[in-house]
Protein backbone atom coordinates (compact mmCIF):
# COMPACT_ATOMS: atom_id res chain seq x y z
CA UNK A 1 0.00 0.00 0.00
CA UNK A 2 1.47 3.40 -0.95
CA UNK A 3 2.46 5.63 1.95
CA UNK A 4 1.17 9.20 1.72
CA UNK A 5 3.27 12.21 2.83
CA UNK A 6 0.94 12.75 5.79
CA UNK A 7 1.37 9.09 6.86
CA UNK A 8 5.12 9.61 6.73
CA UNK A 9 4.91 12.78 8.82
CA UNK A 10 2.75 11.03 11.38
CA UNK A 11 5.09 8.03 11.50
CA UNK A 12 8.08 10.37 12.02
CA UNK A 13 6.24 12.16 14.79
CA UNK A 14 5.43 8.91 16.58
CA UNK A 15 9.05 7.77 16.32
CA UNK A 16 10.17 11.12 17.77
CA UNK A 17 7.70 10.70 20.62
CA UNK A 18 8.78 7.10 21.24
CA UNK A 19 12.46 8.04 21.28
CA UNK A 20 11.90 10.70 23.92
CA UNK A 21 12.88 13.50 21.55
CA UNK A 22 9.70 15.47 22.33
CA UNK A 23 10.00 17.10 25.72
CA UNK A 24 6.83 17.09 27.80
CA UNK A 25 5.64 14.10 25.82
CA UNK A 26 2.42 13.53 27.79
CA UNK A 27 1.24 17.13 27.49
CA UNK A 28 2.13 17.08 23.81
CA UNK A 29 0.22 13.82 23.29
CA UNK A 30 -2.84 15.08 25.18
CA UNK A 31 -2.95 18.28 23.11
CA UNK A 32 -2.57 16.28 19.92
CA UNK A 33 -5.43 13.94 20.96
CA UNK A 34 -7.60 17.00 21.56
CA UNK A 35 -6.61 18.37 18.15
CA UNK A 36 -7.58 15.06 16.50
CA UNK A 37 -10.94 15.20 18.26
CA UNK A 38 -11.45 18.78 17.06
CA UNK A 39 -10.59 17.65 13.53
CA UNK A 40 -13.30 14.97 13.78
CA UNK A 41 -15.76 17.61 15.02
CA UNK A 42 -14.99 19.77 11.98
CA UNK A 43 -15.49 16.78 9.71
CA UNK A 44 -18.89 15.77 11.16
CA UNK A 45 -20.16 19.37 11.07
CA UNK A 46 -19.08 19.75 7.44
CA UNK A 47 -20.23 16.38 6.16
CA UNK A 48 -23.16 15.51 8.39
CA UNK A 49 -24.63 18.90 9.11
CA UNK A 50 -27.00 19.31 6.15
CA UNK A 51 -30.07 21.19 7.34
CA UNK A 52 -28.49 22.13 10.67
CA UNK A 53 -28.13 25.92 10.70
CA UNK A 54 -25.35 25.88 13.28
CA UNK A 55 -23.16 23.37 11.44
CA UNK A 56 -20.91 26.03 9.77
CA UNK A 57 -20.49 27.80 13.11
CA UNK A 58 -19.54 24.54 14.82
CA UNK A 59 -17.05 23.72 12.05
CA UNK A 60 -15.46 27.17 12.37
CA UNK A 61 -15.16 26.93 16.15
CA UNK A 62 -13.84 23.36 16.07
CA UNK A 63 -11.29 24.37 13.43
CA UNK A 64 -10.09 27.18 15.68
CA UNK A 65 -9.83 24.84 18.68
CA UNK A 66 -7.88 22.34 16.54
CA UNK A 67 -5.29 25.00 15.63
CA UNK A 68 -5.18 26.23 19.23
CA UNK A 69 -4.46 22.70 20.50
CA UNK A 70 -1.69 22.22 17.94
CA UNK A 71 -0.13 25.46 19.12
CA UNK A 72 -0.51 24.34 22.75
CA UNK A 73 1.25 21.05 21.92
CA UNK A 74 4.29 23.06 20.77
CA UNK A 75 4.04 25.46 23.72
CA UNK A 76 3.85 22.58 26.18
CA UNK A 77 6.98 21.02 24.78
CA UNK A 78 8.89 24.33 24.95
CA UNK A 79 7.69 25.20 28.47
CA UNK A 80 8.55 21.71 29.73
CA UNK A 81 12.04 21.86 28.20
CA UNK A 82 12.68 25.28 29.76
CA UNK A 83 11.60 24.11 33.23
CA UNK A 84 13.59 20.90 32.86
CA UNK A 85 16.72 22.83 31.92
CA UNK A 86 16.42 25.12 34.94
CA UNK A 87 15.79 22.16 37.25
CA UNK A 88 18.87 20.43 35.84
CA UNK A 89 21.00 23.52 36.35
CA UNK A 90 19.75 23.88 39.93
CA UNK A 91 20.56 20.28 40.81
CA UNK A 92 24.07 20.54 39.31
CA UNK A 93 24.90 23.85 41.00
CA UNK A 94 27.75 23.51 43.47
CA UNK A 95 27.04 26.67 45.44
CA UNK A 96 23.73 27.16 47.32
CA UNK A 97 20.89 28.19 45.03
CA UNK A 98 20.07 31.90 45.40
CA UNK A 99 16.60 33.13 46.23
CA UNK A 100 16.30 34.82 42.82
CA UNK A 101 17.19 31.59 41.07
CA UNK A 102 14.72 29.75 43.26
CA UNK A 103 11.98 32.15 42.11
CA UNK A 104 13.00 31.79 38.46
CA UNK A 105 12.81 28.04 38.80
CA UNK A 106 9.39 28.18 40.47
CA UNK A 107 8.14 30.54 37.73
CA UNK A 108 9.35 28.21 34.99
CA UNK A 109 7.79 25.16 36.61
CA UNK A 110 4.54 27.04 37.12
CA UNK A 111 4.56 28.23 33.49
CA UNK A 112 4.95 24.60 32.48
CA UNK A 113 1.73 23.83 34.40
CA UNK A 114 -0.22 26.70 32.82
CA UNK A 115 -0.03 25.07 29.39
CA UNK A 116 -1.69 21.75 30.31
CA UNK A 117 -4.37 23.75 32.13
CA UNK A 118 -5.12 25.53 28.84
CA UNK A 119 -5.05 22.20 27.01
CA UNK A 120 -7.64 20.87 29.50
CA UNK A 121 -9.94 23.89 28.99
CA UNK A 122 -9.58 23.81 25.21
CA UNK A 123 -10.21 20.06 25.05
CA UNK A 124 -13.30 20.52 27.26
CA UNK A 125 -14.57 23.04 24.69
CA UNK A 126 -14.05 20.41 22.00
CA UNK A 127 -16.16 17.98 24.07
CA UNK A 128 -18.92 20.63 24.25
CA UNK A 129 -18.90 21.21 20.49
CA UNK A 130 -18.68 17.54 19.55
CA UNK A 131 -21.51 16.66 21.96
CA UNK A 132 -23.65 19.40 20.42
CA UNK A 133 -22.81 18.07 16.97
CA UNK A 134 -23.72 14.52 18.02
CA UNK A 135 -27.26 15.72 18.80
CA UNK A 136 -27.73 17.38 15.43
CA UNK A 137 -25.71 15.71 12.68
CA UNK A 138 -26.90 12.91 10.43
CA UNK A 139 -26.88 9.35 11.86
CA UNK A 140 -24.05 8.35 9.48
CA UNK A 141 -21.54 10.57 11.24
CA UNK A 142 -22.99 10.52 14.77
CA UNK A 143 -20.57 7.77 15.76
CA UNK A 144 -17.69 10.04 14.66
CA UNK A 145 -19.06 12.90 16.74
CA UNK A 146 -19.20 10.64 19.78
CA UNK A 147 -15.67 9.42 19.07
CA UNK A 148 -14.60 13.07 19.12
CA UNK A 149 -16.40 13.54 22.45
CA UNK A 150 -14.55 10.59 24.04
CA UNK A 151 -11.18 11.50 22.58
CA UNK A 152 -11.45 15.11 23.70
CA UNK A 153 -12.57 14.04 27.18
CA UNK A 154 -9.45 11.86 27.46
CA UNK A 155 -7.36 14.85 26.37
CA UNK A 156 -8.93 17.11 29.02
CA UNK A 157 -8.52 14.48 31.77
CA UNK A 158 -4.91 13.75 30.87
CA UNK A 159 -3.98 17.42 30.74
CA UNK A 160 -5.69 18.12 34.08
CA UNK A 161 -3.76 15.26 35.71
CA UNK A 162 -0.51 16.84 34.44
CA UNK A 163 -1.37 20.07 36.23
CA UNK A 164 -2.02 18.13 39.44
CA UNK A 165 1.39 16.46 39.44
CA UNK A 166 3.25 19.73 38.86
CA UNK A 167 5.81 20.40 41.61
CA UNK A 168 4.74 23.91 42.52
CA UNK A 169 0.99 23.77 41.92
CA UNK A 170 -0.98 23.13 45.10
CA UNK A 171 -4.38 21.47 45.00
CA UNK A 172 -6.23 24.71 45.83
CA UNK A 173 -4.21 26.69 43.27
CA UNK A 174 -6.18 28.45 40.50
CA UNK A 175 -4.41 26.44 37.77
CA UNK A 176 -5.33 23.15 39.42
CA UNK A 177 -8.90 24.28 40.16
CA UNK A 178 -9.50 25.39 36.57
CA UNK A 179 -7.96 22.23 35.12
CA UNK A 180 -10.10 20.01 37.37
CA UNK A 181 -13.22 22.00 36.51
CA UNK A 182 -12.48 21.56 32.79
CA UNK A 183 -12.01 17.82 33.23
CA UNK A 184 -15.27 17.63 35.23
CA UNK A 185 -17.16 19.53 32.52
CA UNK A 186 -15.72 17.21 29.88
CA UNK A 187 -16.73 14.15 31.88
CA UNK A 188 -20.24 15.42 32.47
CA UNK A 189 -20.81 16.34 28.81
CA UNK A 190 -19.39 13.01 27.62
CA UNK A 191 -21.68 11.09 30.01
CA UNK A 192 -24.68 13.02 28.82
CA UNK A 193 -23.81 12.71 25.10
CA UNK A 194 -23.14 8.99 25.30
CA UNK A 195 -26.04 8.15 27.62
CA UNK A 196 -28.47 7.25 24.83
CA UNK A 197 -26.05 5.16 22.84
Amino acid sequence: MPVSPSDRLLADLLVELSDGRIRGASGYASALSGALAAGLAVMVAKHGGDGWADAPGVAAQAGTLRERLLQLAREDSLAFAAAEQLLGQASEAEEPVSEARDHALADAVRAAAAVPMRIAETAADVVTLAAWAAENVSPEVRVDALAAVRLAEASANTAASLVDVNLVVRSEDELATRARAAAATARQRRASACAEE
Binding site: A53, D54, P56, G57, A124, T128, W132, R178, A181, T185
Partner: protein, 181 residues
Protein backbone atom coordinates in the same frame (compact mmCIF):
# COMPACT_ATOMS: atom_id res chain seq x y z
CA UNK B 1 -14.02 40.83 -1.16
CA UNK B 2 -13.73 44.37 0.03
CA UNK B 3 -14.43 46.82 -2.74
CA UNK B 4 -17.91 45.47 -3.46
CA UNK B 5 -21.27 47.25 -3.15
CA UNK B 6 -21.48 49.29 0.11
CA UNK B 7 -17.81 49.42 0.79
CA UNK B 8 -16.92 50.33 -2.81
CA UNK B 9 -19.57 53.05 -2.89
CA UNK B 10 -18.10 54.58 0.23
CA UNK B 11 -14.59 54.36 -1.29
CA UNK B 12 -15.86 56.13 -4.40
CA UNK B 13 -17.40 58.97 -2.39
CA UNK B 14 -14.07 59.58 -0.66
CA UNK B 15 -12.23 59.53 -4.00
CA UNK B 16 -14.65 62.07 -5.49
CA UNK B 17 -14.07 64.40 -2.54
CA UNK B 18 -10.30 63.99 -2.93
CA UNK B 19 -10.56 64.93 -6.61
CA UNK B 20 -12.53 68.02 -5.56
CA UNK B 21 -9.61 69.09 -3.34
CA UNK B 22 -11.18 68.23 0.03
CA UNK B 23 -8.19 67.98 2.42
CA UNK B 24 -10.23 66.10 5.02
CA UNK B 25 -11.08 63.46 2.41
CA UNK B 26 -7.36 62.82 1.84
CA UNK B 27 -6.96 62.11 5.55
CA UNK B 28 -9.93 59.74 5.44
CA UNK B 29 -8.46 57.96 2.43
CA UNK B 30 -5.11 57.44 4.16
CA UNK B 31 -6.77 56.21 7.36
CA UNK B 32 -9.09 53.91 5.39
CA UNK B 33 -6.31 52.20 3.45
CA UNK B 34 -3.34 52.45 5.81
CA UNK B 35 -3.89 49.01 7.37
CA UNK B 36 -4.25 47.48 3.92
CA UNK B 37 -1.01 48.99 2.62
CA UNK B 38 0.96 48.10 5.75
CA UNK B 39 -0.47 44.58 5.80
CA UNK B 40 0.66 43.98 2.21
CA UNK B 41 4.10 45.42 2.95
CA UNK B 42 4.79 43.55 6.18
CA UNK B 43 2.80 40.34 5.81
CA UNK B 44 2.75 39.56 2.10
CA UNK B 45 6.21 40.90 1.24
CA UNK B 46 7.81 40.64 4.70
CA UNK B 47 9.36 44.09 4.48
CA UNK B 48 11.17 45.23 7.63
CA UNK B 49 9.30 47.89 9.59
CA UNK B 50 11.37 50.87 8.36
CA UNK B 51 11.06 49.74 4.71
CA UNK B 52 7.31 49.26 5.19
CA UNK B 53 7.03 52.81 6.53
CA UNK B 54 9.00 54.17 3.55
CA UNK B 55 6.78 52.18 1.21
CA UNK B 56 3.69 53.54 2.95
CA UNK B 57 4.86 57.11 2.26
CA UNK B 58 5.71 56.26 -1.33
CA UNK B 59 2.34 54.61 -1.99
CA UNK B 60 0.28 57.53 -0.69
CA UNK B 61 2.51 60.04 -2.45
CA UNK B 62 1.82 58.18 -5.74
CA UNK B 63 -1.88 57.96 -4.93
CA UNK B 64 -1.91 61.72 -4.43
CA UNK B 65 -0.10 62.49 -7.68
CA UNK B 66 -1.77 59.83 -9.84
CA UNK B 67 -5.35 59.78 -8.59
CA UNK B 68 -6.46 61.53 -11.80
CA UNK B 69 -5.42 58.40 -13.75
CA UNK B 70 -7.90 56.19 -11.86
CA UNK B 71 -10.77 55.50 -14.27
CA UNK B 72 -13.26 53.93 -11.89
CA UNK B 73 -13.60 55.52 -8.45
CA UNK B 74 -15.04 52.34 -6.98
CA UNK B 75 -11.80 50.51 -7.88
CA UNK B 76 -9.61 52.55 -5.56
CA UNK B 77 -8.88 49.58 -3.24
CA UNK B 78 -7.57 47.17 -5.91
CA UNK B 79 -5.71 50.12 -7.48
CA UNK B 80 -3.95 50.92 -4.21
CA UNK B 81 -3.32 47.20 -3.63
CA UNK B 82 -1.73 46.83 -7.07
CA UNK B 83 0.37 49.97 -6.59
CA UNK B 84 1.59 48.72 -3.20
CA UNK B 85 2.51 45.30 -4.62
CA UNK B 86 4.40 46.85 -7.54
CA UNK B 87 6.37 49.21 -5.32
CA UNK B 88 7.08 46.44 -2.78
CA UNK B 89 8.46 44.20 -5.55
CA UNK B 90 10.61 47.09 -6.89
CA UNK B 91 11.96 47.60 -3.40
CA UNK B 92 12.76 43.89 -2.96
CA UNK B 93 14.45 43.77 -6.38
CA UNK B 94 16.62 46.75 -5.52
CA UNK B 95 17.52 45.12 -2.20
CA UNK B 96 18.36 41.78 -3.85
CA UNK B 97 20.67 43.56 -6.35
CA UNK B 98 22.49 45.31 -3.53
CA UNK B 99 22.67 42.44 -1.08
CA UNK B 100 23.56 38.77 -1.07
CA UNK B 101 21.49 36.55 -3.39
CA UNK B 102 20.10 34.68 -0.39
CA UNK B 103 17.93 37.67 0.46
CA UNK B 104 14.20 37.03 0.17
CA UNK B 105 12.82 37.54 -3.34
CA UNK B 106 9.21 38.22 -4.22
CA UNK B 107 8.75 34.69 -5.60
CA UNK B 108 10.12 33.18 -2.40
CA UNK B 109 7.80 35.31 -0.34
CA UNK B 110 4.89 33.70 -2.33
CA UNK B 111 2.62 36.62 -1.49
CA UNK B 112 -0.52 35.55 -3.39
CA UNK B 113 -1.93 33.35 -0.66
CA UNK B 114 -0.91 35.93 1.91
CA UNK B 115 -2.65 38.69 -0.07
CA UNK B 116 -5.82 36.63 -0.21
CA UNK B 117 -5.57 36.13 3.53
CA UNK B 118 -5.09 39.88 4.09
CA UNK B 119 -8.11 40.68 1.89
CA UNK B 120 -10.21 38.17 3.80
CA UNK B 121 -8.99 39.47 7.16
CA UNK B 122 -9.90 43.01 6.15
CA UNK B 123 -13.31 41.86 4.91
CA UNK B 124 -13.90 40.17 8.25
CA UNK B 125 -12.64 43.21 10.14
CA UNK B 126 -15.17 45.40 8.29
CA UNK B 127 -17.99 42.90 8.76
CA UNK B 128 -17.20 42.68 12.48
CA UNK B 129 -17.61 46.43 12.78
CA UNK B 130 -21.15 46.10 11.43
CA UNK B 131 -22.21 43.47 13.98
CA UNK B 132 -24.04 44.30 17.21
CA UNK B 133 -21.67 44.90 20.15
CA UNK B 134 -22.50 41.62 21.90
CA UNK B 135 -21.46 39.69 18.78
CA UNK B 136 -18.28 41.72 18.34
CA UNK B 137 -17.39 41.01 21.96
CA UNK B 138 -18.00 37.28 21.92
CA UNK B 139 -16.29 36.70 18.54
CA UNK B 140 -13.30 38.77 19.58
CA UNK B 141 -12.93 36.87 22.84
CA UNK B 142 -13.12 33.45 21.20
CA UNK B 143 -11.27 33.96 17.91
CA UNK B 144 -8.80 36.75 18.71
CA UNK B 145 -8.14 36.42 22.43
CA UNK B 146 -8.24 32.60 22.50
CA UNK B 147 -10.55 32.55 25.52
CA UNK B 148 -12.31 29.32 26.51
CA UNK B 149 -16.09 29.04 26.79
CA UNK B 150 -15.84 29.15 30.58
CA UNK B 151 -13.71 32.30 30.52
CA UNK B 152 -16.14 33.99 28.12
CA UNK B 153 -19.13 32.92 30.20
CA UNK B 154 -17.54 34.30 33.38
CA UNK B 155 -16.57 37.60 31.76
CA UNK B 156 -19.97 38.18 30.15
CA UNK B 157 -22.02 36.63 32.97
CA UNK B 158 -23.63 34.08 30.69
CA UNK B 159 -24.25 30.35 31.08
CA UNK B 160 -21.19 28.44 29.83
CA UNK B 161 -23.40 25.98 27.97
CA UNK B 162 -24.77 28.73 25.71
CA UNK B 163 -21.45 30.20 24.49
CA UNK B 164 -20.86 27.87 21.54
CA UNK B 165 -24.36 28.49 20.18
CA UNK B 166 -24.07 32.27 20.68
CA UNK B 167 -20.79 32.27 18.74
CA UNK B 168 -22.40 30.21 16.03
CA UNK B 169 -25.36 32.61 15.68
CA UNK B 170 -23.01 35.61 15.52
CA UNK B 171 -20.97 33.87 12.82
CA UNK B 172 -24.16 33.30 10.85
CA UNK B 173 -24.93 37.03 11.05
CA UNK B 174 -21.44 37.89 9.93
CA UNK B 175 -21.63 35.45 7.02
CA UNK B 176 -24.91 37.04 5.89
CA UNK B 177 -23.29 40.47 6.00
CA UNK B 178 -20.32 39.29 3.95
CA UNK B 179 -22.58 37.61 1.40
CA UNK B 180 -24.80 40.67 1.02
CA UNK B 181 -21.86 42.92 0.11
Amino acid sequence: MIGEPDSAAKDARIVRRCRAGDAEAWNELVVRFSRYVLAIATQAYRLPQHDAEDLFQEVFSRVYSQLHTLRDDTAIRPWIGQLTRRLAIDRLRRASNREAPTEILPEEASPDAELERIDLALDIHEAMAGLPPHCQEILDRFFARDESYVQIADALELAAGTIASRISRCLTRMRSMLESR
